[in-house]
């Protein structure tokens, strides 16, 4: 059933407060157990052999020497994984091409990127497993490779997939191409729009691939038993989706695999899909012993989900008084080794913040010899926002209009027709612009070489399949069993708060925990900022289900009709105006006698949550540029974001601050660096530099609450919007500081210095 529950304003006791998170004490004492913290008796250590080549045909793999090494219990290669047809199949709601997934998990005909898995061993120790990898002989025929997105689109580029023809173009192409798909969105007549414009700005932007950079490397432990059942402990954003993918790849029945989600040390979209899990199960199946695989940081960088590097062209036209008339964009995104980048949501988010009559967006999803990109917080949106918000900044500056006022003139509001499909519902974009404008940080005087930048972000947010169970214990406490993974943001506590609010009890009477895959029905991955939105809706459904049962039970016990009983403040009491008088019963009182009056009471929800509310944010950043070194220092940062309703404001602030700092890293430091040989040169945190505490200031988070009409508490979701604007905001601030618009990121010192020197040289000449 698809479910939407409308928003009802109400007096709140728990929602909106800041209790200590339920998983907090375990996390500050070292008790919390993550993927690598699980072990089983007799377990083997699995290690993966990875391609050193960016593109190579695999002629043969000889594992005999490795198998002969004492202590080696199993080796798997492509021969241990079934061929999958070239078709899109739903595995737990994620539609993926299993032809590609099985090839990403273990290379078949070709190795398609540096780090691509080619074989794996399980041995009695890590040292033996590593030694065994060296004994595997792979005969590679090295092929020409291509990494840059524009290079890969050229007709004579090395083609990764001989069977890949560009989709959604007519006539059907007669030559294979790295362009997997072409997307197009149109509204109005963009050419006519540009003719009407007083000012047209066109710019081209290039960004480098970055990694989600979660601190916990992927880790899993699999145990396959002789009756064909498998247990899997893994760090995942969605254990049901991992179960589905493993079942498909290993040709097992879904019920034969039980997945236990461990505590997850960050994901940000990077733990939505399997890597080592099917390999660990396959090794365990062969070795008849449990197998544990923990990725190294090097493997995480080389083989798991980075983002696209991209090329984006943006052209926008506006009137003299700052009304945007026409907007055009071309997005070229790296997909990595297999089709499926985030270019589709990126192209749908490009201009959605603004009400523009004439829009044309064309996008290409391009396969290149890099790891298959994975989702990363508002997938694809920051890259295109960098382009669009830079162009808007330039227009506003040229016209002498305040950048926030310029955006206010054009801001989307309820009823604005999007260019990709629906009209926007109730949204809070304007409120975020106003909140940013009113913030004292917007008026702090700036010094020399300092500049201020503004940018905005929009994200759709998502709902999807969700289930939970709420068991009322005999002492009136509640065990809340969740199927959506708390991927770090404090979801467990937010959902426990919603349950406490509904039932009218204290939040410390609710103990939330994750289910394994046998305890609840299917749940989608925690992605699309859906955790509190969809999980919250499921908790409301389950709580109301329990309340209905509590009312019925109280009515029976008190021997009154059910409609004489209402649930209020944690107890069943006579409904106002009812002729039936009876002594109220608290939750604890009913729970105490539940067993003897018909059995224990529980609430359930199995829903497909609809009605996700779009989120918007406006960000202001002040930077200082060191003209001698090119170093950009972030001085001040402000984000105003509409979250609908902040269930636990401290964790919402955490999402805003965390997303902003990831965005700062993307804008200033982070990039994948490839050598001419197509190998990644910086697969470690020393050379791939994520922001540290001394790189960033406090991030002032302003929570804006324009309720989502399609959620009982007005929740929109808040995890992703925050990362969208930093790249653009920082580029705009740097331009304000030094008068140079740099359209390539990251704005690392060498790049900024080069731009400063180039500008100086041009001035002289």
């Amino acid at each position: 059933m698809s479910t939407t529950i409308k928003y009802e304003p109400r007096e709140l006791k728990v929602v909106g407060t800041r209790p200590i998170r339920h998983d907090g004490v375990d996390k500050v004492t070292g008790r919390a157990r993550y993927g690598a913290d699980f072990d089983l008796p007799g377990q083997l250590i699995g290690k993966v052999l990875r391609s050193p080549h960016a593109h190579a045909r695999i002629r043969s793999i000889d594992v005999s020497a490795a198998l002969a090494l004492p202590g080696v219990k199993a080796v798997v290669t492509r021969d241990d994984f079934a061929e999958m047809p070239e078709e899109y199949a739903a595995a737990g709601e994620i539609v993926v091409n299993f032809y590609d997934v099985t090839r990403n998990v273990m290379a078949r005909e070709k190795a398609l990127y540096d780090g691509h898995a080619v074989a794996a061993v399980a041995a009695t120790s890590e040292a033996i497993a590593k030694q065994a990898l060296k004994l595997i002989k792979v005969d590679y025929e090295v092929l020409p490779h291509v990494i840059d997105v524009l290079e890969a689109m050229k007709p004579d580029a090395p083609v990764l997939h001989e069977h890949q023809y560009t989709q959604l173009v007519t006539p059907k192409p007669d030559k294979p191409s790295n362009v997997a798909k072409r997307l197009e969105f149109k509204r109005g007549d963009v050419e006519a729009g540009f003719r009407q414009a007083d000012l047209v700005v066109e710019r081209e932007f290039n960004t480098k691939p970055v990694h989600q950079g979660y601190i916990e490397p992927q880790a899993c432990l699999a145990s396959y038993s002789e009756d064909g059942q498998a247990d899997l402990w893994t760090s995942t954003q969605g254990h049901f989706v991992f179960r589905a993918q493993c079942a498909k790849l290993l040709q097992m029945e879904v019920s034969k695999i039980r997945v236990m989600p461990t505590e997850i040390g960050g994901g940000f979209g990077g733990k939505n899909t399997v890597y080592c899990e099917p390999v660990a199960i396959a090794l365990s199946r062969k070795a008849h012993r449990p197998v544990k695989i923990v990725m190294t940081r090097d493997e995480v960088f080389r083989a798991t989900g980075p983002t696209s590097g991209a090329n984006v062209r943006v052209k926008m036209g506006c009137t003299r008084d700052g009304r945007i008339i026409a907007a055009e964009a071309v997005l070229n995104y790296q997909a990595g080794a297999f089709a499926g980048s985030s270019v589709s949501p990126a192209s749908m988010s490009a201009f959605t913040r603004y009400d523009v009559d004439h829009v044309h967006v064309v996008a290409h999803d391009v396969t290149v010899n890099r790891p298959k990109v994975a989702a990363y917080r508002a997938p694809g949106a920051p890259i295109v926002a960098f382009g669009v918000e830079s162009v808007i900044d330039e227009m506003a500056k040229k016209l002498g209009i305040d950048p926030i006022d310029f955006r206010l003139k054009n801001a989307a509001r309820e009823g604005t027709q999007s260019y990709y499909g629906p009209k926007l519902g109730s949204i809070g974009f304007i409120e975020t612009l106003q909140a940013a404008k009113a913030h004292p940080n917007y008026r702090v005087p700036l010094g020399p070489n300092q500049g201020r930048g503004v940018a905005t972000g929009f994200w759709f947010n998502a709902g999807n399949e969700t289930s939970c169970a709420l068991n009322i214990n005999e002492d009136g406490t509640v065990s809340l069993v969740l199927g959506v993974v708390d991927v770090a943001g404090g979801l467990r506590t937010a959902l426990a708060m919603i349950v406490a609010e509904e039932l009218g009890i204290d939040v410390d009477k609710v103990r939330p925990s994750h289910s394994d895959t046998t305890e609840l029905g299917f749940n989608f991955v925690t992605a699309g900022s859906r955790g509190t939105f969809a999980g919250g809706m499921a908790c409301v459904v389950a709580a109301r289900d329990a309340i209905e049962k509590l009312r019925q039970r109280a009515a029976k016990i008190r021997e009154v009709p059910v409609d004489a009983v209402e649930w209020k403040d944690g107890r069943a009491q006579p409904i106002q105006g009812s002729a039936h008088r009876f002594a109220p019963m608290t939750l604890a009182e009913i729970a105490k006698v539940a067993g003897k009056t018909g059995g224990t009471i529980a609430g359930h929800a199995e829903i497909n949550a609809q009605g996700a509310g779009p989120g918007f944010a406006t960000q202001i950043v002040d930077v200082e540029v060191d003209r001698e070194t090119g170093l950009v220092k972030v001085l001040r940062y402000t984000i105003a974001q509409d979250v609908g309703k902040a269930i636990h404001p401290a964790y919402v602030e955490g999402q805003l601050q965390g997303g902003v700092v990831q965005g700062i890293g993307w804008a200033l430091n982070e990039e994948y660096v490839y050598g001419k040989d197509g190998r990644l040169q910086n697969p470690g945190f020393l050379d791939y530099r994520v922001p540290v505490a001394s790189d960033v200031p406090f991030v002032d988070a302003v929570i804006v609450e324009v309720p989502n009409p399609n959620h009982p508490y007005g929740v929109r979701g808040c995890g992703e919007v925050s990362i969208i604007a930093p790249m653009a905001a920082i580029a705009n601030a740097v331009e304000s500081a030094i008068g140079i618009r740099i359209c390539e990121q990251p704005l690392s010192p060498p790049r900024v210095l080069a731009a400063i020197e180039e500008a100086a040289a041009t001035r002289k000449a």
Binding site: R18, I20, R21, D23, G24, V25, D26, K27, V28, T29, G30, R31, A32, R33, Y34, A36, D37, A127, Q212, G213, Y214, I215, E216, P217, E263, I264, G265, G266, F268, V294, T296, R297, V487, A488, G489, G490, A650, Y651, E653, G654, Q657, G658, G659, V660, V661, Q662, G684, F685, L686, V690, P691, V692, A693, S694, V696, F698, V699, A701
Partner: protein, 158 residues
């Protein structure tokens, strides 16, 4: 492979373990002594998730060999709380929501304690530089810095 016999003190308890020459202290703590509160984020000294103190000095346990622990006193996250009393820093991290996924948290707590032992009254900037060896990808550091400053205040009795 011969294994070395090592005696050390961990969180006040005398321990003995056998380890191979190339095993890191991190590996020993996690896999020989089963103290998995100390985390591995990189194994190259770049993330600080494996921070512990050795004779009072903060180290990345991934950069030290297990055999080097001979005769040393090691403190890990598991020894930070005293009975049911959390360390002030632990409490402040909870109160300030200074953790999300929490995988960086043990390392941050060890570093922060060491920082405050050396500098009981740090400025914001000193906290930021003092913790610059620890990566957190979730929080943006905002609430971590607030928690440490607040803990310092309370520990000074201010």
């Amino acid at each position: 492979m011969t294994r070395h016999h090592v005696s050390a003190t961990v969180n006040g308890d005398a321990v003995e373990f056998l380890c191979e020459t190339q095993q890191t202290l991190l590996d020993v703590l996690r896999n020989e002594l089963r103290l998995t509160g100390t985390k591995e984020g990189c194994a190259t000294g770049d993330c600080g998730a494996c921070s512990v103190t050795v004779d009072g000095r903060l180290v990345c346990s991934c950069l030290m060999l297990g055999v080097e622990a001979e005769g040393k006193s090691i403190r890990t996250i598991e020894g930070m709380a005293q009975g049911e009393n959390l360390h002030v820093l632990q409490r402040k991290f909870l109160e300030h929501a200074a953790l999300q996924c929490g995988v960086c948290t043990p390392g941050f707590l060890m570093s922060a304690r060491s920082l405050l032992e050396n500098n009981p009254n740090p400025t914001e900037s000193e906290v930021r530089y003092g913790l610059a060896g620890n990566l957190c990808r979730c929080t943006g550091y905002h609430k971590i810095v607030e928690a440490v400053l607040d803990a310092a205040r309370e520990m000074r009795g201010a």
